[in-house]
C-alpha cells in the first residue's frame, strides 16, 4: 500500500516535471481534440517534425506545422526537441528542398498554426506557453 503510494507520487512528480520542462522552454504542444493522444515522447515528436514519421504511436495521422525560423518559440522547441538550433534545422531543410529530397512542414505564424490545428484532425503544432489554445488539446512531452 505504502509502496504503491510512493510509486504514485514519483510518477506524478516525473509527469509534472516533464510538463514543466516542456512549458518552461516557452512552448506547449497542441493537437486537434479528435486526437486521442495525451502525451508524446520527445523522440516521436522529433520524428514527426523532421517528417521521419507521419503518425502517432496509436496510428493517428500527424500533420505538423512549423513557426517561422526567426520565432524564439521555434528556437526553444528546436533546441529542446530536435537537439539543434533552428538555424541548423533550417539548413537541413534547405539541403532537402534544393536537392529534391523533401520539403519541410508548412510554416505559419502562431495564430495561423492554431487555426490549422483546430481545423485539421491530424494537426500538431508547438505554440508559446501563453497562447490561447481554446478548442485545442494540449499534450505533454515525456522523455
Amino acid at each position: 500500500m505504502k509502496l504503491s503510494r510512493i510509486t504514485h507520487v514519483v510518477a506524478i512528480v516525473l509527469f509534472a516535471s516533464a510538463t514543466v520542462r516542456a512549458q518552461s522552454g516557452g512552448y506547449k504542444i497542441v493537437v486537434n481534440p479528435a486526437n486521442p493522444a495525451t502525451s508524446i515522447s520527445k523522440d516521436d515528436l522529433s520524428r514527426i517534425f523532421l517528417k521521419q514519421s507521419t503518425k502517432f504511436r496509436d496510428g493517428h495521422g500527424a500533420s505538423p506545422v512549423d513557426l517561422p525560423v526567426s520565432s524564439p518559440v521555434r528556437e526553444s522547441f528546436s533546441k529542446s526537441i530536435l537537439g539543434k538550433p533552428s538555424s541548423a534545422v533550417d539548413a537541413f531543410w534547405q539541403q532537402q528542398i534544393f536537392s529534391g529530397r523533401d520539403i519541410p512542414p508548412p510554416q505559419r505564424n502562431e495564430s495561423a498554426a492554431i487555426s490549422f490545428v483546430r481545423s485539421s484532425e491530424n494537426g500538431i503544432a508547438y505554440v508559446s506557453s501563453g497562447a490561447d489554445t481554446h478548442g485545442l488539446k494540449v499534450i505533454t512531452v515525456a522523455d
Partner: protein
C-alpha cells in the same frame, strides 16, 4: 562596381523576405524556393575553370535555380527545379531541368522516387550547386570537379530509399539505390575538352549509397558506388568518327563527417576507374583518385572560417588516342564566409595550387586551350563569391 554589388545585396535581401512564402494551389501549399550566386575569380598565371582568370580576373561565374514542390498527401510529393549557369565556357546560359521528382514514402524505411533525380553520392554531390549550404566558394575539385558536374549530378530513372533506426545505441542507417540514364550537356567539361567534334555522351548509371549516422552524436560515415555503361560520340559523319564505350566503368566514394558544436570536419575519397573501348577495338584506361580533408569553424554568429587540402591524381596508360601520362593537382584553401542575414552571404577564398592534372587529356579545371602560352606548375587564385536563397 561596389555600389552595384551593395544594391544587388539589398535587393536580394528584400526579395527574399517577400518571396519566402507558400503559395496556395487547389487548396494545397506549393513551396517555392530559389537561389543565385555570383563569383569573381582572379589567378596569378594560369587561366582556370575555363575562365580568363589570369589578367584582372573574371566574373563569368554565375548560377541560379528555382523550384516548386507540393505535398499532395502525407506520403506523396511532386516537385521540379530549373538550374542555369554561366561559368567561363561551361553552362553558357542554357537552362536545364535540374530535377523533377515524384516521391512516395511508404514508411520511414522505404520510399520510392522517380523522374529526373539528383544522385546521392558522397556528402555533397546532390548539393554541390547550392553555394549557400557550404562554407567554401568552391568545393574540393579533386572530388567535386565543377567542370564534370553533369557526370554525376542526376539520373533519369528511379531510386529506392529509406532510414533504418538501429536502436538508441546503434544510430541510423540510410540507404539509397538507383538506376537510370545520364545525359551530358554539350556545355560541360568533356565537350569543352573535345571541342567542336563533340556530339553526345551518356548512358546507363546504377549504384547506391549507404550512410550511418553513428551513435556518436555528429559523426556520419558512408560509402557510395556508381557503375556506368556510357558511350561518347564525336566526329559523327566524318572519317574520324569515334565512339568511346565503357567496358568497366565505376566510381567508389568513401566519406566521413564530424560535427561538434560549431566545428565541422569532413573528408572524402573518390576513385573513378574507366576501361573503355575505342570504336569497339583497342582499350582505353583512366584512373582518377581524389581526396580531401576539410574543416570549418563558426567563430562568430555571422562568420565562419574554413580550410581544406584537396589532392587529385590521374593516371592514363599509353593508347591510340592519348599518350601515357600521370598528372596531379594539390590545392590548399583558406576561406572566410560572412552571413549578412539568413538569405545572403559573401565568401572570400584563397587557393594555392600545385600541378594542373592532365590538361590535354582529362577535364580538371585547367585546359591547354585556355592557356596557349603554356601552363605554369603553380597557380594562386582569389575567389570572391556572394549567394542568396529564399
Amino acid at each position: 562596381m561596389l555600389r552595384t554589388l551593395i544594391k544587388l545585396l539589398v535587393c536580394c535581401a528584400c526579395v527574399s523576405s517577400v518571396w519566402a512564402q507558400d503559395i496556395k494551389l487547389f487548396n494545397q501549399d506549393v513551396q517555392v524556393h530559389g537561389f543565385a550566386s555570383q563569383g569573381f575569380v582572379s589567378t596569378d598565371g594560369n587561366n582556370w575553370l575555363t575562365m580568363k582568370t589570369g589578367d584582372i580576373g573574371s566574373g563569368q561565374f554565375t548560377d541560379f535555380g528555382g523550384n516548386a514542390s507540393i505535398q499532395l498527401t502525407d506520403k506523396f510529393r511532386i516537385g521540379a527545379q530549373i538550374y542555369d549557369r554561366d561559368l567561363g565556357q561551361l553552362g553558357k546560359w542554357h537552362p536545364q531541368l535540374d530535377w523533377a521528382v515524384a516521391s512516395y514514402k511508404f514508411t520511414s524505411w522505404f520510399g520510392i522516387r522517380g523522374g529526373k533525380v539528383k544522385t546521392t553520392m558522397g556528402l555533397y554531390n546532390d548539393t554541390q550547386d547550392l553555394d549557400f549550404l557550404h562554407t567554401f566558394a568552391l568545393l574540393p575539385q579533386s572530388v567535386y570537379p565543377t567542370d564534370l558536374r553533369d557526370v554525376t549530378i542526376a539520373h533519369v530513372g528511379g531510386d529506392v530509399f529509406g532510414d533504418v533506426p538501429l536502436g538508441k545505441k546503434g544510430g541510423t542507417l540510410s540507404y539509397t539505390a538507383y538506376a537510370g540514364r545520364r545525359g551530358d550537356s554539350p556545355y560541360g567539361g568533356y565537350a569543352y575538352l573535345i571541342g567542336s567534334s563533340f556530339n553526345r555522351m551518356g548512358g546507363l548509371q546504377y549504384g547506391g549509397d549507404l550512410r550511418w549516422a553513428t551513435p556518436l552524436k555528429g559523426m556520419l560515415v558512408g560509402i557510395s558506388r556508381l557503375d556506368e555503361d556510357i558511350a561518347a560520340h564525336f566526329g559523327e559523319g566524318t572519317p574520324g568518327a569515334t565512339t568511346l564505350k565503357s567496358k568497366v566503368d565505376w566510381t567508389n566514394q568513401y566519406y566521413a563527417q564530424y560535427t561538434w558544436k560549431k566545428l565541422v570536419v569532413d573528408s572524402e575519397y573518390r576513385h573513378y576507374s574507366l576501361d573503355a573501348t575505342i570504336n569497339g577495338g583497342p582499350e582505353f584506361q583512366t584512373n582518377v583518385r581524389g581526396w580531401y580533408m576539410a574543416g570549418s569553424y563558426q567563430i562568430a554568429k555571422h562568420v565562419q572560417l574554413g580550410s581544406y587540402y584537396s589532392h587529385y591524381a590521374i593516371a592514363v596508360p599509353a593508347n591510340l588516342l592519348i599518350p601515357a601520362g600521370n598528372g596531379f593537382d594539390h590545392d590548399k584553401v583558406l576561406t572566410a564566409r560572412f552571413d549578412l542575414n539568413r538569405f545572403v552571404n559573401i565568401k572570400v577564398e584563397g587557393h594555392f595550387m600545385h600541378g594542373v592534372g592532365l590538361p590535354d587529356d582529362y577535364p580538371n579545371g585547367f585546359y591547354s586551350v585556355d592557356n596557349p602560352q603554356g601552363l605554369k606548375p603553380n597557380t594562386r587564385a582569389l575567389v570572391v563569391k556572394t549567394s542568396f536563397k529564399f
